[in-house]
Symmetry: C2
Subunit: 142 residues, 2 copies
DNA sequence: TTGAAACCGCAACTAAGTTGCATTAATATG
DNA sequence: CATATTAATGCAACTTAGTTGCGGTTTCAA
């Protein structure tokens, strides 16, 4: 869905299109790197949009509810967000410089998932899978 | 390794065996549920050992360094810890009641890992994989 | 143009985790 | 057993991510 379509769809549902909301949708439609709330505020600032962190937390929550974003956890006590559009993938994160790269798994976890549901009686809604290590640069230059 | 062996091994390395340290090692050797720092403090209190949170943070860090514990991340902004002894496994967490159950994956991610290392030039040190959903109880009783 | 309500910002708060520094206690050695 | 060394501890103050209440502002349909 294009940025414009996303916006139109929200408008149809009765939500308002504010500068902040429009810009956020634009940022996520073009960006590939998962972004934290702090990073979003800084990105907005570069477009001369000042936004309070409370607003961004609320906006991100809204976009999650609308299935426009997905939440990602790198285990460093802050959430990151990226477009829900991109096909399901995982990440590898450099423990030193925090560089992030998308990866696509060969293994298909859906079989495991089915089996786990049967064995545990849980209904699985999602999973997290992230790899950690050192990137080429950080590995070779200590 | 038994609790006693672990303690002996630490003593050999020149570390001291305090009440807190001994009890923590005991807790992790018997418990199966990943525990947060707060939960550890409460568990110690039940054995009449009062411990400052700073101490527990430091102690947990120490035990991680000694490869006695591993850190687990459920994405709720607090770390949990469990014995490093148990064979590599993952968890499924109920989003409602926080119940945790161990799971063992059928898929072998080591092949993926190798491939990812080749493709990205990262050196992978670890990964996280957790499943989230609703347990039987929480699923049926809304 | 205007009013309802969606959205926003501020201030004050919570909770997890960290740091500096002074004190306490485990253990090796005599 | 006495005691010196230093690992371990506790306290207070701090940091950072995220949350809440509430009054003010802006969007947008009618």
């Amino acid at each position: 869905m294009s940025t414009q379509d996303t916006i139109e769809s929200l408008r149809q549902k009765g939500f308002r299109i504010t500068n902040i909301r429009r810009k956020l949708i634009e940022i996520f439609s073009t960006g590939k790197k998962p972004l934290s709330v702090q990073e979003l505020i800084e990105k907005l600032a570069k477009s001369d949009i000042t936004a309070n962190k409370t607003t961004i937390y609320r906006e991100v929550y809204f976009l999650l509810e609308q299935d426009i974003l997905v939440e990602i956890d790198f285990g460093d006590r802050k959430k990151r967000y990226e477009s829900a559009e991109s096909e399901h993938h995982h990440h590898i994160i450099c423990l030193k410089c925090s560089k992030v790269q998308d990866i696509h798994l060969e293994s298909d976890l859906s079989e495991d998932q089915k089996k786990i549901e049967q064995e545990t009686n849980f209904t699985i809604t999602n999973h997290t899978l992230e790899f950690f290590g050192l990137c080429n640069t950080c590995h070779t230059t200590p």
